[in-house]
């Protein structure tokens, strides 16, 4: 991937408290334009919280998030988020869900995007009649319609079966290669993270515990040389008792 070196998202000393519980405890992270970053960690580690902060849905208790150099104070207009449960409006047909917030004139464009995610023949269907994978395709299409500079994926494949996941992973990679948006994928699946991301970031104890660059060639597959080693390395770090900040770049592949 060709990447400019400008920081698209910059966070330093981000803290987030819910009542007396501190979820994020001084998190520093910089993400460059066009980068695909996966965020992994145990459940409850604050990875989804981080995504919500970047989307501007929640505000950090302290610290500031900079989007292209500007501090984020309201909703992040450059970002669109795809939620785990899709969050389609059940009372709107697929096509109307995809043009949400854009008006009828966006219909032609929406048909193109739906074709891109492979759902062009289901445009007049109610979301309730779609399978889990199809719902997530619609949610992806809806996000793409807004031409986001930052795409936030909050465990979008968490509820899908293994085969559908594989299809969706290919689709997500293809869309990212085509549109070149900065992408943040929150996932609990380390293999998925290594399969898709340029960098895999591990959150532990409210901080970035490790930041691993994945130098494998795309398209990747699970039997690729080096794939297993990276996955194993990250898993070890997740399971390690004490968090030691390591910033490793696995250059041995």
């Amino acid at each position: 991937m060709v990447k400019t070196n400008t920081a698209h998202l910059q966070m330093s000393g981000i803290e987030k408290r819910f009542g007396s519980i501190k979820v994020l405890k001084g998190l520093d992270l910089t993400i460059h334009e066009g980068e695909f970053v996966a965020v992994v960690g145990k459940s409850g580690c604050g990875k989804s919280t981080l995504l919500r902060l970047i989307a501007g849905l929640d505000k950090p208790s302290s610290g500031t998030i900079f989007v292209a150099g500007e501090p984020l104070t309201t909703l992040n207009r450059e970002a669109r988020i795809v939620f785990q449960d899709g969050r389609l409006l059940p009372w709107k047909r697929v096509l109307d869900n995809v043009i949400l917030g854009l008006g009828k004139s966006a219909k032609d464009e929406a048909m193109k995007v739906l074709e891109d995610v492979g759902l062009v023949e289901r445009t007049e269907e109610w979301p309730g009649k779609l399978s889990g994978g199809q719902k997530q395709r619609v949610a992806l299409a809806r996000a793409l319609m807004h031409k986001p500079k930052i795409l936030l994926l909050d465990e979008p494949l968490g509820a899908l079966d293994a085969l559908t996941r594989m299809e969706m992973q290919k689709l997500m990679e293809r869309l990212w290669l085509k549109h070149q948006f900065t992408t943040l994928l929150v996932t609990h699946d380390v293999e998925e993270a290594v399969l898709l991301a340029d960098r895999v970031v591990l959150i532990k104890d409210g901080k970035i515990a490790s930041d691993v660059r994945v130098p494998l060639k795309r398209p990747r597959h699970k039997n690729q040389i080096g794939f297993g080693a990276i996955v194993e390395h990250i898993l070890q770090q997740i399971l390690e008792k004490k968090s030691e900040k390591t910033s490793a770049s696995l250059g041995y592949v």
């Binding site: 988020i81 969050r87 059940p90």
Partner: protein, 266 residues
């Protein structure tokens, strides 16, 4: 062919018991097993229906009752709907009005009848007022709860996709609350007729209830039964209208889809 007959028989099955009842009613009254002072024969009720239809009395009374019901419903329903919206959408409004409305809700509205007669006499206002009060609370409660229970995740999603204010309300909040609002409408249509029956029976100079009460003075059993049937019919019609609205506006809803087994025979 045989299959078709079987299918028709299956479709007619829910009607078997009502038809059987009607036939035995007719026969028992004809044979004198049921005294005419208890129940008139169905044919006599039908005769009364044709008679009153010819004189125009029936249409007049039904029209008067219908007008009262709908006017009361429109007034009470709108007030309930508006307060439901306000209190559901805006926290300060909820803080100001909800407790008071909940307190008023606990007064049985039919207990107001003597008071209402003193206030308005036995004119139209009394009946419309009672219907309006009866209808107000179910509509209010269901609108309020419908809006309060709109999926927060969908609201959040709507905001991140650029909706706010009116567009958020019309595309996310209102459709999300609609099934609950329609439950309120359907329920209050039932309460509307019951309230009107009581109000008309106690005091009026026209309407179906008045028709029944004058018939009582002249011992016209068939007219009394006819009045009861008219109320039943109007109640059924309003329920059908409510169901039609549900089917039209909630087609997307898994529990309101056509061919749904729970709908059969209703």
């Amino acid at each position: 062919m045989l299959k078709r007959i079987k299918q028709t028989a299956m479709n007619l099955r829910p009607w078997a018991i009502p038809v059987l009842l009607l036939m035995s009613w007719q026969l028992f009254t004809k044979w004198g097993l049921i005294s005419a002072r208890v129940l008139p024969a169905p044919t006599e009720v039908l005769a009364a229906f044709i008679d009153l239809l010819k004189t125009g009395e029936l249409i007049h009374h039904v029209w008067v009752s219908l007008w009262r019901a709908l006017t009361g419903f429109a007034i009470g329903g709108s007030i309930g709907f508006i307060f439901g919206l306000l209190n559901g959408l805006f926290r300060p409004a909820e803080m100001t009005f909800d407790t008071s409305i909940q307190m008023l809700r606990n007064i049985p509205h039919l207990a107001l009848v003597p008071l209402v007669i003193l206030w308005f006499g036995i004119g139209e206002e009394a009946k419309i007022f009672l219907v309006a009060v009866a209808v107000l609370f179910p509509v209010y409660l269901n609108t309020f709860h419908g809006i309060k229970n709109v999926d927060k995740g969908l609201m959040e999603m709507g905001k991140t996709y650029g909706l706010s204010g009116w567009s958020l309300f019309s595309q996310v909040i209102f459709p999300g609350a609609l099934s609950s609002i329609l439950v309120g409408v359907r329920y209050s249509l039932g309460v509307m007729w019951i309230t009107l029956i009581v109000a008309e029976t106690i005091s009026s100079t026209s309407g179906i209830g008045y028709m029944a009460m004058t018939a009582r003075e002249f011992y016209q059993m068939n007219v009394i039964v006819l009045a009861i049937l008219m109320y039943a019919l109007l109640g059924k019609v309003s329920d059908m209208i409510a169901r039609f609205m549900e089917r039209k506006w909630l087609v997307w809803h898994p529990s309101y889809q056509f061919g749904n087994t729970s709908d059969r025979g209703k």
